[in-house]
């Protein structure tokens, strides 16, 4: 817990939204959660320039914007030559909640999705998920972005291919015990 709070204080988050009220709302929530630095842009083109000037740890973006919408913004971000920028976790906050839109956002490379109305708890949970359960970055011919599968291993029985300790505790616990990166 303390570890997560420390990480929030060191975070630099960029908000991209053409609505002034949503920018103010998200800024207030992130600051109240003690996020260290919160920047904001009113459109995606300015946001791309801002990210090139100074990368952010997390980008929070709206979907419906002009001249570039949130989906195209993420696609451009994921295609950037700079690997640091390309891998920036993106939280999409939108009133579009249809399943096909969620899938489209995922396929464009969005890391987490938050449906409006926005709540403090909703933002906190998505940020925590990005920090504590980061998805591996995939770069394939037709997709670049966070792995589209959740890394849940719901197998409840013993893992026959694992070591006795792994079979007992699970791979993530073993990695944590050994001080290694989680699998």
């Amino acid at each position: 817990m303390d570890h997560l709070l420390d990480r929030l204080e060191r975070l630099d988050v960029l908000i991209v939204d053409d609505s002034r009220s949503m920018r103010e709302l998200l800024k207030a929530i992130l600051r109240d959660l003690c996020v260290g630095q919160v920047r904001d842009c009113a459109d995606a083109v300015t946001a791309l320039q801002e990210l090139k000037r100074k990368p952010a740890d997390i980008v929070v973006t709206d979907w419906v914007m002009v001249p570039l919408d949130g989906l195209d913004f993420v696609r451009i971000l994921r295609a950037m030559p700079d690997s640091l920028l390309r891998r920036t976790p993106v939280l999409m906050v939108t009133a579009h909640t249809e399943l096909w839109r969620v899938n489209a956002a995922r396929d464009a490379g969005v890391t987490e999705f938050l449906a409006k109305p926005v709540s403090v708890r909703g933002v906190a949970e998505r940020i925590a998920a990005m920090l504590e359960r980061p998805r591996p970055f995939v770069r394939a011919p037709r997709f670049a972005g966070p792995c589209r599968r959740r890394r849940f291993d719901l197998h409840e029985g013993p893992e026959r291919r694992a070591s006795p300790m792994q079979a007992l505790l699970g791979r993530r616990d073993v990695a944590a015990l050994l001080g290694e990166a989680p699998p």
Binding site: D32, V118, E156, R172
Partner: protein
């Protein structure tokens, strides 16, 4: 008392900040909600301007897109700021616009009513569900939408072009 053992293979729980920090943030959010009508003034002005432009030139595509974007913005943010009635009216407006009512003289009264209702809600700072007034407003809007849809359905089809 022993703690239940976690099933092997399940990831550790993601733990967002809890307790005092969340409560403080929610309290600050409630304070920010008091400023919502002022914060939304820009979007409301855009909604009214786009609707006025459609009135002057219904065929111009730009104002239709701007009207929908403004309605969509109000739909998404109203409830976040404690104005669910504004969100509900904006959501209804989005549906009406998606059905093309703003492009047809028979459908326009429904759009006009939604634009006026959103202006009234924000100008009067009608937070929450709006109580009895809010319920009456939603019923009246539903009637307008139903009347518009019925008028559009009842319109005789245009005769096929000669020749």
């Amino acid at each position: 008392m022993s703690l239940p053992r976690r099933r092997p293979g399940l990831p550790r729980l993601v733990r967002p900040p809890r307790g005092a920090r969340i409560a403080a943030a929610e309290s600050n959010l409630a304070a920010l909600a008091a400023d919502y009508p002022a914060l939304a003034a820009e979007t409301l002005a855009e909604l009214r301007a786009a609707w006025a432009e459609i009135g002057a030139d219904p065929a111009a595509p730009g104002p239709h897109a701007r009207l929908f974007r403004a309605a969509h913005t109000l739909k998404g943010e109203g409830t976040s700021f404690g104005y669910p009635l504004a969100s509900a009216v904006a959501a209804s407006l989005c549906l009406v616009l998606e059905r093309g009512h703003a492009r047809d003289p028979l459908g326009r009264p429904a759009v006009e009513a939604h634009v006026a209702a959103l202006g009234a809600i924000l100008d009067a700072r009608l937070a929450g569900g709006g109580g009895e007034l809010g319920a009456r407003l939603m019923l009246a809007l539903r009637d307008r939408v139903a009347n518009g849809a019925a008028a559009l359905r009842a319109r005789p089809e245009a005769p096929p072009p000669a020749g």
